[in-house]
């Protein structure tokens, strides 16, 4: 996709977001404290300015020379990392066992991202590295800093 088109789409999304914020602000419940500038006017003002800035940016981008291709290189890897993060968060929330999840998912991710061909050495290296990471987290965060996962 071209830079101009991508910027227009992004600005369009931001304008929609700003409008949604304005509409929601108009429906805020009244507070007990009456202020000259109530809780709704500031976000409405900022959202209004955001719409104006988006329009100016769109015009400036369209009038400019820059229309390089916006590429998302390695999108499969990006989706893999994003998916791993989401699965990590869901499993952690609904299953628990942070250390087990971290070890399993991060080992899997590291194995896939490592471009070396499959070998026993690669598997062993991946597992040992992740075991070390999990151990460092346990000692550093749980034992020394009193974190509870």
């Amino acid at each position: 996709m071209g830079y101009k088109k991508a910027t227009c789409i992004a600005n369009g999304i931001l304008i929609a977001l700003a409008i949604a914020f304005i509409v929601m602000a108009l429906n805020f419940k009244e507070g007990f404290v009456k202020l000259v500038i109530s809780e709704k006017y500031y976000p409405i003002g900022v959202a209004g300015l955001l719409i104006v800035a988006c329009i100016i940016s769109t015009i400036k981008t369209l009038a400019g020379d820059d229309d390089h291709k916006v590429e998302i290189k390695g999108w499969k890897n990006i989706l893999l990392v994003l998916g791993t993060c989401i699965v990590f968060a869901l499993l952690w929330k609904y299953v628990g066992h942070f250390y087990v999840i971290a070890f399993v998912l991060m080992s899997g991710l590291m194995y896939v991202l490592n471009p070396e061909p499959h070998s026993k050495k690669k598997v062993l290296k991946t597992l040992l590295t992740n075991l070390a990471i999990v151990l460092v987290i346990y000692v550093g965060f749980e034992r020394l800093l009193n974190f509870r996962f």
Binding site: S38, L50, F149
Partner: protein, 508 residues
Amino acid sequence: MAAFTSFDFGSLFSVGNLLCLFLGTLLGMIVGCLPGLGPTIGVALCLPLTFKMDLIPSVLLLVAIYQGAEYGGSISAILLGIPGTISASATTMDGNPLCRKGYPGKALGYSLTSSAIGGLLGGIVLLLFITPLSRLAFDFLDGELFLIAMFGLISIVTLGSDDVPKSMISLLLGLLLRTMGADTLSGVNRYTFGVPSMLEGLQFIAVITGLFALSSVFNMVGSENLGSSGVSDVSRFKVHVSLSELREILGTVLKSSVIGTIMGIIPGLGPSAAAWMSYNEVKRAHPEKKFGTGEPLGISACESANNACVGGALLPLLSMGIPGSGTIAVLATAFMFKGIQPGPQLLTKYPQYVYPILWGFLIAVFALYIVGKFFTSLTARMLVAPNYLLVVIILVAIMIGSFGNRNNMFDVGVAIAFGVVGFFLIKLKYPIASFLMAFVLGDIIETHFRRALTLSKGSWLVFVSRPASIVIDLMILALIVSSVLRSVKAKKQKAAAAKTAEGGADHV
């Protein structure tokens, strides 16, 4: 002056504080030398370490990371020709050629010595000017405090980016998203969607780690060679500069440190601009030297400037509550986690924290020199670490960091969402530093703005009625006018260049 020195210096030298300084410096050097990371991500990733720590060691750790990262950026710039941080890009110009001539240790020695002197000068300026600046800001009312914060934001928009409308969008988005949660003045819930976790709004740490660290992970797995960082051998070297060599660079180092400190104080400029400005200045001052071929003055100018920037950037934060750079904005959250708002009140309300932090800053500079002297070679070995390993370590750090602040899984989701948002913002050149500054300052901007108007019964004259507010208004106006003039000048230059090129083509 009494409070300046009348605290227990011994407590500053506790094992915990010293450990934070030395460990922070080493961590900073590592994140700084790894291209794609840098000080902001380093400070953001290490914020979770500070959750259970006292304020002083927390801030010392983060300051040491910042200092260490500014020097660390020069390690890969010199050894590989790839700057580890944006601010080290100017160092590449002379650092890498000197390394290729067979003097990596010498090049790193110039970098380390200049970084330490620059950091020291920045620290001294911080120590000397914090009290007068805080006193000045102490008399400010809500209207002036709002204007000062606006000055910081407008500086970021006009000076920190080439694309002003996009920078403005990032900034306004930051301000808008900061309004989420219970309103601090009226208690009304805003954009909470009935989610209890949203009552306190979006958490800094989740937003910061997502926006900076996760988006950089996406960039790493998307565009870089995952198998290795392209380095197979980092040879042994001794980081060393002799006294006579130091004498040769001292004048440049001092001048560049002054430039760096000033650039650090002005929000929006930061270490990168400081390094380039100092590099250009040293080139102008020494036309007889062959810059770009391994000239030590070139390395010294850049490195002293970007480290002096750290102290400079802390000054507006500690005295007025305005972070001087994106990294300092992240650092400011360490204060907020402890329930302390940096600003004019800081010095009077919490002197027990401020002075040890200031003196600790100076010790951090010595820590930088010592750690840099003995561990640069070791840090350089991190350059051979494969990126797939870094990805896994950073991801785990993001998960822990976003969860650890209040043990809430909702924040992990926020970090992931902001990682995606940050990735696209960076791809489409929306400056995320503007977003970050606005997000950090959003709350105080809204509070001072609404309180000022409430106290003046809705009269907008409150923003122009006092001498202080008029001065700040004029400063804002000057910023805007200079930005417009710069833009017009750039357009004229571009048109002239196009005309010349056209003429040349016709001639051919």
